[in-house]
């Protein structure tokens, strides 16, 4: 299955139909925030496999490596603290591109082929086609695409498409020592997640659940949360969707604009045929 990653499902700004014809399963990463120990092996593996230049760490008062992912740092363990009647909680969540089923980045992108979605669900940026406009940064509900000041193009997690294409798991998954990260088909991983959620509920986490938000067509990252009723605690939006302004811009506004522009040109042509020019009295200047 993984060898078929070049099958395309969606291509940014392209009128041609994407050529993916084979019916391959959607792949996903499984992230169990309840068994993550915050060791950051995945961060290191990501930097190493992708040959990313070292990024300076920024101390923000927690164990977190830096405030946000960057163009050179695509995999970040987010640490957050929270206190309620049940006591003190400490969350660690692996943050990276969610590989949305309906990616807002791709919808917003104006450059043909700069963002593609493979049939296996991986959303990938093609920097050689990217013009650096930053529209994807407006379209993404998860604040993932980051502009590199060096290349003026945008980068993010590729789900190690180069490894997946040859049948390997992404580097982060390979490095995880606790098994809180797994790789497989989304279908399988949703089953794994459902089992884990049952376990959590039995051990008292009544709000445990899976984060696979329907507003973005589901994600190829299957996240288990102990407090799935409050994903914000983990730095996840509770009901993500492509921003309304972006959807409006890319569909109704575009059609209205096209009709108005073509209509305007046609109207002037008709006007000229019907009424013609205004001439100065006396002589034509």
């Amino acid at each position: 299955m993984a060898g078929n990653t070049l099958e395309l499902k969606r291509i940014s700004a392209s009128a041609a139909p994407p050529p993916g014809i084979r019916d391959t399963p959607v792949l996903a990463k499984y992230i169990d925030t309840t068994t993550c120990i915050g060791c950051k092996a995945c961060e290191v593996a990501c930097q190493q496999w992708n040959d990313l230049p070292p990024e300076t760490t920024v101390q923000i008062g927690t164990y977190q490596t830096m405030p946000d992912t960057t163009a050179n740092f695509w995999n970040l363990i987010r640490f957050s603290e929270f206190e309620d009647a049940g006591g003190f909680h400490w969350f660690m969540r692996k943050d990276q591109c969610m590989h949305c089923g309906d990616p807002g980045c791709l919808k917003a992108c104006p450059a043909p082929g700069a963002i593609v979605q493979y049939v296996n669900g991986i959303v990938d940026f093609q920097q050689d086609q990217c013009i650096g406009c930053g529209y994807c940064m407006a379209g993404c509900p998860f604040n993932i695409p980051k502009l590199s000041s060096k290349t003026k193009t945008v980068y993010k997690c590729t789900m190690c498409v180069d490894r997946v294409a040859v049948g390997l798991e992404p580097a982060c998954i390979k490095a995880c020592p606790t098994g809180c990260l797994q790789f497989g088909t989304k279908e399988q991983l949703l089953e794994v997640a459902a089992k884990r959620v049952d376990q959590l509920r039995e051990s008292g986490f009544r709000e445990a659940g899976v984060y696979d938000p329907p507003g973005v067509g589901g994600t190829s990252v299957v996240t288990v949360l102990a407090h799935a009723d409050q994903p914000e605690l983990y730095g996840l939006p509770s009901n993500p969707s492509i921003p309304l302004a972006v959807s409006f811009w890319k569909a109704p506004l575009k059609w209205l604009g096209n009709i108005a522009m073509i209509g305007g040109i046609v109207a002037t042509a008709i006007h000229y045929l019907k009424y013609g020019a205004k001439h100065a009295h006396g002589k034509d200047s």
Partner: protein, 198 residues
């Protein structure tokens, strides 16, 4: 012959015009994939993305100069409102039924204000789009609204632009020469702008 546009006025007009056309072509390339080839012809997507905002600054600078030169001529008067109500006659080339106009008729004035206000909105939203990655995530609604405002304002000015070019070249003969060479005939002035230079 009568001088209608000074050398300075003509330069400013054509700087604005060329900048606008460049902005229009590169902007439309990003607006719809069907016109992306415009960006390719104009040096590639990256080049177009790089230069569009700079051309925008040139356009806005020229628009500000136009404001300085023409704002007083462009004030909307009671006569303009009467002209606006009778615009059907203008459309049908029945100009003798229209109230006489001065240097500019109401249509030209409204076009000026449309381009000026459009330019301001395009500048504000365009700068936000230029530096999207500097807009913090907590203010992401700015990222979203910037594109919407930019496209809407661009479309409004494109409507004005189509009418402006059509009127100036095809309908009001002599108008195009006046903004190129600066001069119009006395008959032209008396016909189209009877209250101007009287």
């Amino acid at each position: 012959m009568i001088l209608r546009y000074t050398f300075k006025e003509r330069i400013v007009h054509w700087v604005a015009a060329f900048a606008y056309v460049y902005l229009l072509l590169t902007g439309l390339a990003f607006y719809t994939p069907k016109l992306y080839w415009l960006a390719v012809v104009l040096g590639g997507g990256t080049t177009s993305r790089e230069w569009h905002p700079w051309a925008g600054l040139v356009f806005v600078a020229a628009t500000v100069l136009m404001y300085v030169m023409w704002a007083s001529d462009m004030r909307i008067t009671e006569g303009d409102r009467a002209w606006g109500r009778a615009i059907g006659h203008y459309v049908r080339n029945e100009d003798k039924h229209l109230p006489p106009v001065g240097r500019y008729n109401a249509g030209q004035k409204y076009l000026f204000w449309l381009m000026f206000l459009g330019g301001v909105l395009l500048l504000i939203s365009g700068v936000a789009m230029w530096f999207t990655s500097s807009i913090p995530w907590s203010l992401r609604w700015l990222r979203h609204w910037a594109v919407l405002v930019h496209v809407s304002a661009a479309l409004a000015t494109i409507g004005g632009f189509i009418i402006h070019v059509y009127m100036g070249t095809a309908v009001v003969r002599g108008g195009f020469t006046s903004i190129v060479r600066g001069e119009v005939s006395e008959e032209w002035a008396r016909t189209h702008h009877p209250l101007w230079k009287r």
